[in-house]
């Protein structure tokens, strides 16, 4: 599904954020990318949604070279990917309902579909009572569940979760991982970056370990080993 071919990313300081990474991610996998802060995890996932471009090498989503897509095609690609971030990236002047509705409008869903699906997905992440709350009225865990609801609403083929538990207490972190596992069980590919050992070990699936921009381990039923 996703192919990293000799990908290198260098910033102005000559320091390599990603150093010659080769990686294949198959459809339906649940991949945890682990490593210390600054290991290159976030840069790696940002490449997939073209938020960042490689200095060298190519990244393919199926047969499409992500960084060669024009603006329209990139928009279409992004509609196939759901994203969840540590800092939630919610639209602050929209309610919980509108945040999700916006993602549905973006892919051209009808008003009827929106009014049926949004309450349903909010119920899935246990936010039914917060439907008209703005992000600043939600707790960290609630914000992250809202972000997940937005990420899954259009049934994407891939969900990228960049440190989704980074700002959460263990109970909320556990909830989030359980939701992601359920989504993966339904067939959606998940790429999760984290430096939370407990989270990785509770998942028990493929683990890619990064250090100084390089992939140093790639274990099928991995554990967090650094």
């Amino acid at each position: 599904m996703i192919y990293f071919n000799n990908v290198t990313k260098t910033y102005n300081t000559d320091q390599k954020a990603i150093d010659d990474v080769n990686l294949v991610i198959k459809a339906g996998e649940f991949i945890s990318v682990v490593g210390h802060s600054g290991a290159g995890k976030t840069t790696l996932v940002k490449m997939i949604v073209a938020e960042d471009t490689p200095t060298d090498g190519t990244v393919f989503f199926e047969s499409q070279n992500i960084h060669k897509l024009n603006s329209g095609d990139l928009t279409k690609l992004r509609r196939r990917i759901g994203v969840v971030f540590q800092d939630f990236k919610l639209l602050n002047n929209k309610t919980a309902y509108e945040n999700i509705a916006f993602a549905m409008e973006a892919v051209g869903k009808t008003n009827e579909e929106i009014s049926t699906d949004v309450p349903h997905v909010l119920e899935l992440v246990d936010l039914s009572e917060k439907i008209f709350s703005f992000p600043h009225q939600l707790s960290g865990g609630e914000k992250q569940r809202l972000a997940i609801a937005r990420a899954i609403i259009n049934q994407p083929e891939l969900i990228i979760a960049d440190e989704p538990t980074g700002n959460l207490d263990p109970v909320n972190a556990h909830d989030i991982i359980q939701i992601l596992k359920k989504i993966n069980d339904l067939g959606t590919t998940i790429i999760l970056t984290t430096h939370n050992r407990g989270v990785v070990e509770s998942i028990g699936k493929r683990v890619i370990t990064m250090e100084k921009g390089k992939v140093i381990r790639d274990d099928k039923d991995g554990k967090y080993i650094i």
């Binding site: 949604v49 073209a50 938020e51 603006s71 329209g72 928009t75 279409k76 992004r78 509609r79 994203v83 990236k89 919610l90 639209l91 602050n92 002047n93 916006f102 993602a103 409008e105 973006a106 892919v107 051209g108 009808t110 008003n111 937005r150 259009n154």
Partner: protein, 305 residues
């Protein structure tokens, strides 16, 4: 269609929820539109003052005493046919005498001298008004050269006062064209400055939303969808600012109408009220265009990803 509806709705919602930022932008657009309205009104004052000055300028053709009235009238007709001529007024010798007597009715020696002469010493005259002040010269030239039009008219003309007034008319022409040029230049500079200030303010309001724009792109919203909402918001600034400006100028022009009509030579309030529809259309168009185009340009930078 559904996209358009959603874009418009999002624009209104953003406007409502941005609260203070929206009102700050409206305030700036209102200032710009106020500058524009002031310029519109000042131009009117300038034009009406210039018109009044222009109206005071004319060329008079004096005829010999006892000149044939038919010839005078046929000269009048041929003058009226000239495209440069706005109006020709004929004052006959009898009327000229009556006017003279009226003007000097308190000047006893003059009236007495006139009575002693017995006959009318004054000839009739034609008062010619040109459409443009710069056209007097060509009318005067016509009088000099084109006498063939009215056979023998040269013999009845005593004098044409254009040449006596020439230097005054020339100076006036220069002043008027200078005033118009200066007015245009000042207008241009003020409008340019206002547009820059408005553009920067709207850019600032969009800068505040740059993170949101990035998020919208990440969840797959098209550029049109994002840009459209901001453009609608810009248009709303323009609409509100138009209403505020129209409201603001109500008491301002009323004050000018009450206190400055004599000085300006025009009742600003009456002018404002009778032209309010046209003024509203002009500033509404400018306000809405300014808002939407500024938003369109300002958001471009953040839509690239």
């Amino acid at each position: 269609m559904i996209l358009l509806k959603r874009v418009i709705k999002a624009g209104f919602l953003n406007f409502k929820r941005n609260g203070l930022v929206s009102w700050a932008a409206i305030l700036i657009v209102t200032i710009t539109l106020s500058v524009l309205t002031s310029i519109l009104l000042l131009q009117t004052v300038l034009h009406s003052s210039l018109d009044q000055i222009k109206n005071k300028v004319d060329v008079t053709i004096y005829f010999n005493v006892g000149a044939d009235e038919d010839k005078i009238l046929s000269l009048k007709e041929s003058l009226e046919k000239l495209p440069e001529v706005a109006e020709v007024a004929y004052v006959s010798d009898a009327e000229a005498l009556a006017l003279f007597r009226e003007r000097h009715k308190n000047d006893y020696p003059t009236i007495q001298a006139l009575d002693e002469i017995g006959s009318n010493p004054l000839g009739g005259y034609l008062n010619v008004k040109a459409k443009e002040i710069s056209q007097y010269e060509s009318i005067a030239n016509f009088m000099k050269s084109d006498n063939a039009l009215v056979l023998g008219s040269a013999s009845i003309i005593d004098k044409v006062n254009y040449y006596q007034n020439k230097s005054v008319i020339d100076r006036l022409t220069n002043i008027i064209s200078g005033a118009q040029k200066l007015g245009f230049l000042i207008t241009l500079v003020l409008v340019f400055l206002s547009i820059i200030i408005t553009f920067n303010t709207i850019r600032l309001t969009i800068f505040i939303s740059k993170e949101e724009i990035g998020i919208m792109r990440l969840v797959g919203a098209s550029k049109l969808r994002i840009r459209g909402a901001f453009m609608i918001e810009g248009a709303i600034y323009g609409i509100f600012a138009t209403f505020l400006t129209l409201l603001l100028f109500w008491p301002v022009t009323a004050w000018f109408g009450r206190n400055m009509t004599l000085f300006l030579g025009i009742n600003m309030y009456e002018y404002y009220i009778s032209n309010i529809f046209q003024i509203a259309i002009i500033i509404l168009l400018v306000g809405v265009l300014l808002g939407t185009i500024s938003s369109f340009m300002a958001i471009r930078k953040y839509l690239n990803k």
